[in-house]
């Protein structure tokens, strides 16, 4: 029982960042119809920015976190502006190929810039964990969890309460109608991609200090994000949020009670189950076939 509680605590904490990753990807897909293969690179970009500011420049941890996210947003906007804008209206395969090319170029630029040796980021939190009965949680992870929840809530508020969010939702529902109503589709696309990228960078910046940073961390982040959005249904934000937590629990319990080697396989097992029993994902808003 004690062990289960500890596993559950571990899962909740990782689930928060998974949800961030998933929401970012699902937003970009839902609004832009782009399968974003660079998502994981934004994640590792966030983590490397954290390393650069905290470890190389010596900036304050919190300031660095904000900077990493802001730079992630900027990089996302740049990618959208340079690569995707001219492809608006192109079919999904074309944009996907471009994103794969961008992914390769970005990952190897990172490898060139930071070398293949893993970097670790020192966090300012005390090393002794918070102990709650049988469960112990490090302060760093707790911080990660809280920030992730705040970011999820902020994203919800942005989409539900602001003018930008309204325009994004309109674009999601019907791009042509939105354009007719005066929504600047170009700006919405840039904003969406920047926001999604910012969330991925935030996840990377948060988890960087928990784990280590190396150039290919983005790959597994991308794969996890894919699994999460399939679980939740492409384009569904609540789906991505809940999907993130489901994936984290599946992984943690699978690793704890089945076999640690299959930790990463759990997400894909879930995908297969979902495909068999509910092919539209748990929270899909639109028909997926066709």
């Amino acid at each position: 029982m004690d062990q289960l509680l500890q596993h559950a605590a571990n899962a909740m904490i990782i689930g928060g960042t998974y949800a961030l990753l998933g929401i970012g990807l699902t937003l970009i897909f839902g609004i832009m119809k782009v399968v974003n293969f660079t998502h994981g690179e934004l994640y590792s970009f966030g983590a490397y920015m954290m390393y650069a500011w905290v470890m190389l420049i010596g900036a304050d941890f919190m300031v660095s976190l904000v900077l990493a996210v802001v730079l992630g947003i900027a990089l996302g906007a740049l990618v959208e502006f340079v690569l995707l804008r001219r492809l608006r209206g192109a079919d999904i395969d074309t944009t996907m190929l471009v994103m794969i090319g961008a992914w390769i170029a970005m990952q190897n630029t990172e490898q060139l810039a930071w070398s293949g040796v893993a970097k670790s980021i020192v966090s300012p939190f005390p090393a002794d964990p918070l102990v709650l009965g049988p469960v112990s949680i490090s302060w760093t992870r707790l911080f990660v969890f809280v920030v992730a929840l705040v970011l999820i809530a902020a994203t919800y508020a942005l989409i539900q309460r602001t003018k930008l969010g309204k325009a994004m939702r309109a674009t999601f529902q019907d791009r042509q109608a939105a354009a007719l109503m005066g929504v600047q589709i170009n700006s919405i696309h840039t904003a969406t991609f920047a926001l999604g990228s910012g969330l991925a960078a935030a996840a990377g910046a948060l988890l960087g200090p928990v784990f280590v940073v190396y150039p290919t961390i983005g790959d597994s982040a991308s794969l996890k994000a894919f699994a999460i959005v399939i679980l939740g249904g492409l384009g569904s934000i609540p789906g991505a949020t809940i999907g993130g937590f489901i994936l984290a629990f599946a992984e943690e319990l699978g690793a704890g009670y089945v076999s640690s080697g299959y930790r990463d396989a759990m997400g894909f097992l879930l995908i297969i189950l979902i495909l068999i029993f509910k092919p539209t994902g748990l929270f899909a808003q639109k028909e997926r076939i066709g």
Binding site: Q3, I14, Q111, P129, S136, R263
Partner: protein, 385 residues
């Protein structure tokens, strides 16, 4: 192959098209394959840095057989198939007469059939799996200790550390599995209870699930076998989960100074099996070699934590250079025969090879020293046992 003038002309053309860079043969090339990227990148880079120190020292002293040596270092990306490709390239394209590599046991085991196929000697500087020298590959010469040697050296310490119940967390590759096997057998012989044996993928970064199970098992000592990147994470995460068990890392790729730098207080209280203790250079067999290496390492501004790893590359290159000297020519077969005759006063100790493996196709195995160090209050100390 039959050659006629026209074909020869074509081949010149083709060579020109393919832009083959031709090097003048006034150097002796030595091949090195190391994981410079990927899961073992930190260690691989340290070994390569150590090898370059040896290259420069040897060349500063006039080289070998009147020629300078030239290292051709290839990145095997921590991947066995890539490792084979690098060896293929080193032998077929660069035509090196000897190779040092390939860091991890899995990588070394992967390249062994290739060196046998091309009959080029391989000096193994790091790998610890027993299989390497018992596979019947007469081109393999290992200067690093095997896991069994480590375990034998460790046995007297079992009582002193008062180990009652042990748990294992190791990578699921030849290095980790071989080490866990050797240590668990040694522990069992001493009557120690073996609890959970958890494994991890060499690329994994989150061990909270494994550590939670280990914590629940109630072991008093946890043996961890992997490279320094993962050890850092294991120490940090063990502290986060308040794992009380004493952590002992095996295999010598643990770079204690780097652990102190990166894991901070989480490293306190952990023990580490190393093959070179730069903190007390006077206890080693050849202090002059050790000090010369250490001075140069520091002078070059390399990561201090890498010193316990870099010396492997340093010794490996010295061993090959010495064999070339003894052989009198830079040819694979001659170097292979000469390796049986050399004695190198290296950082590992006095390196010389004894026969191991099936009769008639023995591999060479060196018997180096093994040390156990402890991290206390952010410093490496000689544990008082």
């Amino acid at each position: 192959m039959h050659i006629d003038p026209r074909k020869a002309a074509l081949s010149v053309l083709a060579a020109g098209l393919m832009a083959a860079p031709a090097f003048a043969q006034d150097t002796i090339k030595i091949g090195v394959t190391q994981p410079l990227t990927g899961a073992f990148a930190a260690s691989g880079n340290y070994v390569a840095q150590g090898a370059k120190i040896a290259e420069d020292e040897i060349n500063a002293k006039g080289g070998v057989l009147g020629k300078k040596i030239q290292l051709v270092i290839e990145d095997n990306k921590s991947n066995p198939t890539e490792a084979v490709a690098t060896v293929e390239k080193l032998i077929v394209r660069d035509k090196v007469p000897a190779i040092m590599g390939a860091w991890s046991s899995t990588l070394t085991l992967a390249v062994m059939p290739k060196v046998m196929e091309y009959k080029v000697p391989l000096v193994v500087e790091t790998s610890s799996s027993g299989k390497i020298t018992t596979a019947g590959n007469p081109y393999v010469f290992r200067i690093a200790p095997t896991s069994d040697m480590e375990a034998v050296a460790f046995t007297p310490l079992i009582d002193k550390l008062n180990i009652k119940k042990a748990a294992f967390l190791n990578t699921n590759n030849d290095f980790g599995i071989g080490s866990a096997k050797a240590y668990s057998e040694a522990l069992k012989k001493k009557g120690v209870e073996i609890g959970v044996m958890e494994t991890m993928d060499p690329k994994a970064t989150d061990f909270s699930a494994q550590l939670t199970s280990i914590k629940a098992s109630g072991a008093d000592t946890l043996f961890v076998t992997t490279a320094v990147e993962q050890i850092t994470l294991v120490l940090k995460q063990a502290k986060e989960l308040q794992l009380d068990a004493r952590i002992i890392t095996t295999g010598g790729s643990n770079s204690p100074d780097q652990l102190i730098a990166q894991a901070g207080s989480a490293a306190d209280g952990s023990y580490h099996v190393v093959f070179f203790p730069p903190w007390f250079p006077d206890v080693v067999k050849n202090p002059e070699a050790a000090k010369s290496y250490m001075t140069e390492w520091k002078k070059r501004g390399h990561e201090p934590g890498g010193m316990t790893e870099g010396f492997r590359g340093y010794d490996g290159i010295y061993t090959i250079a010495e064999a070339i000297k003894v052989a009198g020519k830079a040819e694979p077969a001659a170097i292979k025969d000469a390796l049986w005759k050399v004695t190198v006063h290296g950082v590992y100790g006095d390196i010389k090879f004894t026969q191991q493996g099936p009769k008639g196709k023995e591999s060479g195995q060196n018997v180096p020293s093994v040390y156990l160090v402890k991290i206390e209050d952010g410093k490496v100390v000689n544990p008082e046992l």
